[in-house]
C-alpha cells in the first residue's frame, strides 16, 4: 500500500514536471514530447493504481498522438527548433486565472464527491480487462460508437475544409490549374 502510494506520487510529480516543461522550453518538438511524457506518466499512475489495461492503453495512445502533434508543430510553426528562444506562454493573466479555477474545481470534485465504498482488493488485471470489455460492448457501447462517428466526421470535415476551394479557370498554382483543367474537361 505504501509502495503503491509512493509510485502514484512519483509518477504524479513526473506528470506535473513534464507538464511544466511543455511551457518552459522554446522548442516545439521538445514541447510536444514533454507533453507525451507527461501523459505517459499519467499512464504509469494508472499502472501504479492497478488499472493495468487503462495504463497501457494510455501509454500506447499518447506515443502516436503526441508524435503527430509534434510534426504539425514543425510543419506550421516558424522556428520549431526554438533557436530564437521563443516564449511558449501566451495571454498569461487569462491562463493563470483559468488554470487556478480549473485546479480548484478538480480538487474540490476530488474532495467532496461521494466515491462510494472502498474496495479492499482490486480485481486482478485479467478480470478488469474482461469487465472493461463487457462494459464497452454493453452499456457504454452507444456512447463510444457515437463518439467514434463524431470524431470521424470531424476529421473528414476538417480535411475537407482545409483543402483550398478550386475554381476552374483561376490560376492559383500548378495543382489547382491541373484540377481546373480536369473539371473543364468533365463539364464538356
Amino acid at each position: 500500500m505504501v509502495a503503491q502510494a509512493f509510485f502514484v506520487g512519483v509518477f504524479g510529480l513526473a506528470a506535473i514536471g513534464f507538464g511544466v516543461a511543455v511551457f518552459r522550453t522554446a522548442s516545439m518538438v521538445r514541447s510536444a514530447l514533454a507533453l507525451l511524457f507527461s501523459q505517459a506518466a499519467v499512464g504509469c499512475m494508472f499502472l501504479a493504481m492497478q488499472a493495468e489495461f487503462l495504463g497501457v492503453l494510455q501509454i500506447m495512445m499518447m506515443a502516436t498522438e503526441m508524435s503527430i502533434m509534434a510534426i504539425f508543430m514543425v510543419m506550421f510553426m516558424m522556428d520549431p527548433g526554438g533557436l530564437g528562444g521563443m516564449d511558449m506562454s501566451h495571454q498569461k493573466r487569462f491562463s493563470i486565472g483559468a488554470g487556478a479555477i480549473a485546479a480548484t474545481t478538480a480538487i474540490s470534485v476530488a474532495l467532496f464527491s461521494d466515491w462510494g465504498p472502498i474496495f479492499a482488493e482490486a480485481p486482478d488485471a485479467a478480470m478488469q480487462t474482461r469487465e472493461l470489455g463487457f462494459e464497452m460492448l454493453d452499456r457504454s457501447m452507444l456512447i463510444f460508437e457515437t463518439a467514434a462517428i463524431t470524431i470521424l466526421t470531424a476529421m473528414i470535415a476538417a480535411t475537407a475544409v482545409a483543402i483550398p476551394v478550386r475554381q476552374p479557370g483561376v490560376d492559383t498554382g500548378k495543382l489547382d490549374k491541373e484540377n481546373g483543367d480536369k473539371e473543364q474537361e468533365a463539364s464538356k
Binding site: 493495468e52 489495461f53 497501457v56 501509454i59 506515443a63 503527430i68 510534426i71 527548433g81 486482478d124 488485471a125
Partner: protein, 298 residues
C-alpha cells in the same frame, strides 16, 4: 535470473544476426566481426553536430534499446521463461512498439541535420502503414485465445498454429514487423542511398554502437513476437520448449534479413498507399474471418 537469461539471449541473438547480415552483404562469414565493430566504435571520436538538441540526441539510441528489451520482456520463451507475463501482454507489446516512433523522431530531430530529420519524419509519415498492421493481426490472435496474456495466446495454438489458422494475419504482421524494425526493403528512415543513413547519419562512436545494437534487438523482439503470435511459440515435438522458441525466432529473423537482401527499397508512397488500400481492409477481413471461425467452429 529470468531477466539475465533473456538479456543474454537477446545479446547472443543480436550477435548472431549481425554475423549473418555481414555474411549477406560481404559474402564472408566472420564470427568476430560484430565484436570488432563494436570495439572499434568504442574507440572512435563521438562527434556532436552543431546546435543539436542534445537531450534528444543522447536519449534516442537508449530509448530504442529500452523499447526493444521491454518488448522482449513480455514474450514467453517457455511457459516459465518470461520476465513479466502481463494480463495485458499483447496490448503492452503494442504500447512499447509505439515508442520506436518516438525514438526515431528524437534521433531524427536531435542531430540538427537535414538527412536525419527527413528520415525521422518519414517514419512518422508511414505510421498508418505499419502500426495498424501490427495491432490488427495481434487483435485477431487475442480473439482466438480469448486473452491478452501472451502465454495463453501461445497455448491457444496447441492444436493449430495461427499461421495456418489465420495466414492473412501472419503475412500482414510479418510485413509490418519488418517496416517497424525499418529493415530493408522498408528502410525508409535510414535509406542509405537516399538519405545517406538518415537517422543513423550523424551518430558515431558509442552512440552508434547502441543504435545498431538496438536495431538488432528490435529485430529479435519482433521475430519473437511473430513466433509467439503465429508460430505456436515454444510448442513443437521432440526438442525442449526453449529450443523451439529459439529456432523459430531465428528462422523468422533470418527470413526477414533474406527478404531485405533480395528486394529493392519500396517507394514511400507505395507503402502508404498499399497499406491504406489493401493492408487495412485485409486486416479487418482477417479479424472478421477469425471471428466467424470462432463462432462457427466449436
Amino acid at each position: 535470473m529470468t531477466v539475465a537469461i533473456v538479456l543474454l539471449t537477446l545479446l547472443v541473438g543480436a550477435w548472431l544476426l549481425a554475423v549473418i547480415e555481414a555474411w549477406l552483404t560481404t559474402g564472408r562469414l566472420r564470427p568476430v566481426a560484430p565484436l570488432l565493430a563494436g570495439l572499434s566504435h568504442l574507440g572512435r571520436e563521438s562527434i556532436l553536430a552543431r546546435k543539436p538538441d542534445r537531450l534528444f540526441f543522447e536519449t534516442a539510441p537508449v530509448l530504442l534499446l529500452v523499447v526493444a528489451v521491454l518488448g522482449a520482456a513480455v514474450l514467453p520463451l517457455t511457459p516459465d521463461l518470461v520476465i513479466a507475463d502481463l494480463a495485458t501482454g499483447a496490448l503492452f507489446l503494442n504500447a512499447v512498439l509505439a515508442y520506436v516512433l518516438v525514438s526515431l523522431i528524437m534521433a531524427g530531430w536531435g542531430p540538427n541535420g537535414a538527412y536525419a530529420m527527413i528520415g525521422g519524419w518519414r517514419f512518422l509519415g508511414q505510421l498508418i502503414a505499419y502500426s495498424m498492421l501490427i495491432v490488427m493481426p495481434i487483435t485477431a490472435t487475442a480473439m482466438r485465445a480469448e486473452s491478452l496474456l501472451n502465454s495463453v495466446i501461445v497455448e491457444s495454438q496447441a492444436g493449430l498454429w495461427n499461421i495456418v489458422y489465420q495466414p492473412l494475419g501472419f503475412v500482414l504482421f510479418f510485413i509490418a514487423a519488418m517496416a517497424l524494425a525499418f529493415r530493408s526493403p522498408f528502410d525508409l528512415p535510414t535509406a542509405p542511398g537516399e538519405l545517406a543513413g538518415g537517422v543513423d547519419a550523424e551518430y558515431t562512436g558509442v552512440r552508434l554502437t547502441v543504435l545498431r545494437l538496438a536495431r538488432l534487438v528490435m529485430l529479435i523482439t519482433l521475430s519473437a513476437a511473430t513466433t509467439v503470435f503465429f508460430l505456436g511459440g515454444w510448442q513443437g515435438p521432440l526438442l525442449p520448449p526453449w529450443a523451439w522458441s529459439l529456432i523459430k525466432t531465428l528462422a523468422v529473423a533470418v527470413s526477414m534479413l533474406l527478404v531485405g537482401y533480395y528486394l529493392p527499397r519500396i517507394r514511400e508512397a507505395d507503402l502508404l498507399g498499399w497499406c491504406w488500400k489493401f493492408g487495412i481492409p485485409l486486416a479487418l477481413l482477417n479479424i472478421l474471418i477469425v471471428g466467424l471461425l470462432i463462432l462457427v467452429v466449436p
